[in-house]
Point group: C2
Chain length 155, copies 2
């Protein structure tokens, strides 16, 4: 099972529609769900360290011996869709029950997240909105499944 876990709710309607489309398309290949976690409160009322600590604690609930942890990060490794599909295939074969993608909040990840990362992944050198990162991640998961099955990508 794949979980895309994101801090901060999706708001833009076109993103929600696109995300729902890919969530639907990907199910026949691999059970996949999106988990939206509430923002950790008002940044004016706490330090960045406190904020990231709250985010980390929320993510921690999804980290165990039985999870593969893919941490999305601006400083993450940039790989092609083919390379990404090979990673996903190896994770499917790893025997672990859960593959979790972690998309951080407005301040990014607490450092401790990096220690858990089986893959520290970058989508682009460019910065996109946090919502767009969710959409792109789901598109790449769908694409990876198509590549693994050797199917032509739906254009």
């Amino acid at each position: 099972m794949i979980k895309v876990i994101v801090i901060g709710p999706l708001k833009s309607k076109f993103i929600i529609n696109g995300v729902n489309q890919y969530l639907k398309w990907v199910q026949p290949y691999h059970k996949t769900e999106l988990i939206q976690i509430n923002l950790s409160g008002n940044l004016n009322n706490m330090t960045a360290k406190e904020y990231k600590d709250k985010d980390y604690k929320k993510f921690s609930k999804y980290i165990s011996q039985d999870t593969i942890n893919i941490v999305l990060d601006e400083r993450g490794k940039l790989i092609s869709s083919i390379e990404f599909s090979k990673k996903i295939e190896s994770f499917y074969l790893s025997g672990k029950k859960h593959i979790n993608f972690f998309i951080g909040g407005p301040l990014g990840h607490d450092k401790r997240m990096y220690n858990h990362a089986n893959l520290l992944l970058g989508l682009s050198k460019m910065t996109f909105t946090h919502e767009m990162a969710v959409l792109l991640t789901l598109e790449q998961i769908y694409r990876a499944n198509k590549i693994i099955k050797n199917e032509k990508y739906h254009y």
Copy 2:
């Protein structure tokens, strides 16, 4: 004036909605439009060379002494959003009237396009749908304008 010129019409509703949102948001900064060019026919009835030649001829109409040509390509340069905004700013200051983004058809660009490129740009090492490339390009154009104006990005 910025034109994002793409071969092959946008089809997915969520993409069209997202594209229209960014087109609307970007106008106060810089006049920007999307030009959708029809596909060059059925690939079964012509060679790849013929097909790309047709695409090239369509794009050529938008190339002149008065255009900055940004060619999107999988082998293009990967740059950060900050670097991209600096390029855009320098293009604004270049004295050229038009900044054109060229997003190729299903076979990619004819080689001759590369000779015209003021910037050969890659969005990611990953492959996205052609529709998603249009959406990401418009998002980055909007973001670049915000960066140039030193405004906080709308999240």
